[in-house]
Amino acid sequence: MKNKSFKDIVRSIPPVVYMLVAMIVIFSLIEPLYLSTRNFRNILLQCVPLMIMAFAQTIVILTEGIDMSLNAVVNIVTVLTVWLAIKGVPLPVGMAISVLVAILIGVVKGFFVSKFSLPPFIVSYGMQNIVNSIALLLTGGASIYFASELYRTFTKTVLLVPNNVWVAAVMFLLTYTMLKRTKLGANIRALGGNPESLTLAGVNPGRSLIKAYAFAGFLTGIAGLMMLCRVESGQPIVANGLEFQSVAATVLGGTSLRHGKGNVAGTILGVLLIQVIQNGLNICGVPAIYQSVSTGGIVLAAIIVNALITSRKAKA
């Protein structure tokens, strides 16, 4: 009897946890330096923008959508804030404006997806191109700079934890609460699981979808600010590639691409797994050109393992 309940507990742990532990063990066996507080602090610090982007991605995926423009939004937030600062707009004001723009982009995507029943992949891919072009136009293709002490406040440490990690934690709590404890959260799962049920309950599905994209837009805006504070400049291509990683992290975290199934807590683990892999390859001295190949390979393998374990669980 006791055995069985232990087995049940083991079964209820999502596979991403095992993979995370396994990766940490492997890397620390290869490179003892890996197991240092300093390094773990680094991992946390580095993953913040991706983490918040992945929260946004999770929301969109729960509506049975996908957002391929998150990278562009992060790019434009860094660029626009710095560009405005150069034009004389105070940095905090510029930051607020950029976040508003991110929300607006979300609203536009949501509008196109719901109003014209377009596939989210196409809408967001188009949006990625448009927004990225604007970022390039604003910067003339290069990075733009504006010096400020403000960036640093986010990398300072309060209660042993860097400030931007606190920001990610707050964003998590916001997202978690939104999904679990608000109408919008319930409607988001309904959008992915059974949109008909919303119409029957008198909810306008289109409006819920726009709200979901707006919320995700807000998160992406904050992710952009965190990115800005890390790179301390306007970088028109800095986040490219992260849109895919955010999808991978979401899936690894146990969110399904369909039916509104999943949760944002798992996404944290998914992001950590990706970050641990990247950081590990780095520390073990894998040359940069091989790094993205191996990250891609390991992430893909992890997704496959995840899918296999999940489908086996569903069967038994």
Binding site: K180, R181, K183, A186, N194, L200, A201, K261
Partner: protein, 502 residues
């Protein structure tokens, strides 16, 4: 009986290329259960949806308490006290029961967040009135059984404290016990003065709860009769438009070669405990039992969906253990699953495409497919199963619920397996089509196929089977042959409830 609450006059509803409702009159009184019957595609769900504001009729008027009623949508109808338990699942799979019941009406805390505690308590209380307190309201409804989900839907409808409830085939997925508690509930609602519209194909239910019956056929109202004014045969004639004499047809076949034998079959979860039986070519073997007796699980193991923990399986004399449906299909085994909603259809594909979805390789062993042939096959099944549609090129989404089920049947039949398991094959299907399916099963048996039939409806399993195994709590508790004196409803029903004699 009380006064008329709802009245619909001259309702006409058009869909592209067809008249789903043609000048239909309908009325509902206080404290009445008004039954709507008719063949699949007759327009029952369409009429319900017009009354619920989900569809707008092209012509006709609706009156609520004698006042003209213009509904702007389902929400409007709900606000006016008209709610429904829909035929299609209207739940959100990854929300829990409580959140589903109170979707868009969630109670809030002082902070503006959802009051989960209150929601759970209220949901529990509602389910308790339905005798379903065993349903965990905090679990995602996708992890509940089909019957439990149905009870959640009913609880949801009741939560609006409505004046009028439309039940569109509520019992087609429920077990005996749940049907009973639903009927108790319906009688209670009736005594409280609610008006109830009840759509069903199960004629044995009508006298238990009904007051009047309206029969639809091809979108037209054929008649409205009091529950005691009309015999079953007359009712069937009104529905189908012709005399129907014999429901169950069975030709006598010789059974020689054994097609399938299972011995001591056990699953991993303890739902099936050592099941042994066999079926021969030309034979129809019934698996009777209550919902939850492990019949579906047994079928799933034979078809390679559910892992087999222990036991032996022999197919045409050779030992075999299908690990996946693909290998089962290769061995000549087919399963028509009970959960057709979930496993069944590509709703946005045409009827023809769905028909051949699993048999493409068999029909076209070479790389290329021939659309003419696909359509020809689809036409054949349309005839055979009487699928009501203007064309087989139509998207499956636009078929009525029962006709969608027939498409799933066609899909598995087109594969033409040697051993075929029918799990609740007539659920949600009208009388006429039921007989077509019985006919088809009989023909298949005559052609030497081996058939296993799982059904919770005793009359049909007794009418069709050559042999019946009775299952209870994962074990086979009895076997009766057609020639046995025990081959009757009383004895088999008793075995289902009580288990074996020894």
């Amino acid at each position: 009986m009380g006064k008329t609450i709802l009245e619909a006059k001259h309702i006409t509803k058009l869909f592209p290329g067809m008249k789903a409702l043609d000048d239909v009159d309908f009325d509902l009184q206080e404290g009445e259960v008004h039954i709507l019957v008719g063949e699949n595609g007759a327009g029952k769900s369409t009429l319900s949806k017009v009354l619920l504001g989900a569809y707008k009729a092209e012509q006709g008027e609706i009156f609520l308490d004698g006042q003209p009623l213009k509904l702007t949508g389902t929400k409007d109808a709900i606000d006016k006290g008209i709610v429904a338990v829909y035929q299609e699942n209207s739940l959100v799979p990854y929300l829990n029961a409580a959140q589903n019941i109170f979707l868009n009406r969630e109670p809030k805390t002082a902070l503006g967040l959802l009051d989960l505690k209150k929601m759970n308590e209220d949901a529990k209380a509602l389910l308790k009135t339905l005798n379903c307190e065993y349903i965990d309201v905090t679990r995602a409804v996708s992890s509940l059984s089909v019957a439990e989900q149905q009870m959640v839907e009913i609880a949801k409808a009741l939560s609006f404290s409505p004046r009028i409830i439309v039940f569109d085939e509520p019992t087609s997925t429920l077990s005996e016990r749940e049907v009973e508690s639903l009927f108790v509930q319906i009688r209670k609602l009736k005594s409280e003065g609610l008006g109830i519209i009840y759509v069903s194909h199960r004629m044995q239910e009508f006298p238990q709860i009904g007051d009047r019956i309206t029969v639809l056929r091809d979108g037209k109202k054929i008649g409205c009769v009091g529950i005691n004014e009309c015999s079953d045969a007359e009712l069937v004639k009104m529905m189908v438009g012709r005399d129907v004499s014999q429901v169950y047809v069975r030709n006598k076949n010789d059974f020689n070669e054994e097609a399938l034998r299972v011995e001591g079959l056990c699953d991993q979860g303890g739902r099936v405990k050592g099941v042994s039986f066999n079926v021969r070519k030309g034979e129809i073997v019934g698996l009777a039992g209550l919902v939850g007796a492990g019949r579906t699980e047994t079928a799933e193991m034979i078809y390679g969906i559910r892992p087999i923990a222990s036991g032996k399986m022999t197919v045409f004399g050779k030992e075999a253990m299908p690990k996946t449906p693909t290998s089962a299909v290769k061995m000549g085994i087919g399963l028509i699953s009970e959960d057709r909603k979930r496993q069944g259809l590509a709703l946005n594909e045409s009827i023809a495409q769905n028909n051949v979805a699993v048999s493409l390789l068999k029909i076209f062993p070479n790389f290329f497919v021939n659309n003419g042939k696909i359509n020809q096959i689809a036409e054949e099944f349309k005839e055979k199963l009487r699928i009501m549609t203007t064309s087989v090129g139509k998207k499956t989404r636009f078929l009525s619920g029962g006709n969608q089920q027939k498409v799933v049947l066609a899909k598995w039949l087109s594969q033409d397996p040697e051993i075929l398991i029918f799990d609740e094959p007539t659920r949600g299907i009208d009388v006429g089509a039921k007989m077509e399916i019985y006919n088809l099963m009989d023909q298949m048996a005559s052609q030497g196929k081996a058939i296993i039939m799982i059904s919770s409806e005793l009359p049909e399993i007794i009418g069709m089977s050559d042999r019946i195994y009775i299952m209870k709590e994962g074990e086979i508790t009895g076997e009766v042959k057609r020639e046995d004196p025990d081959f009757n409803q009383e004895k088999i029903g008793e075995l289902m409830m009580l288990g074996g004699a020894e």
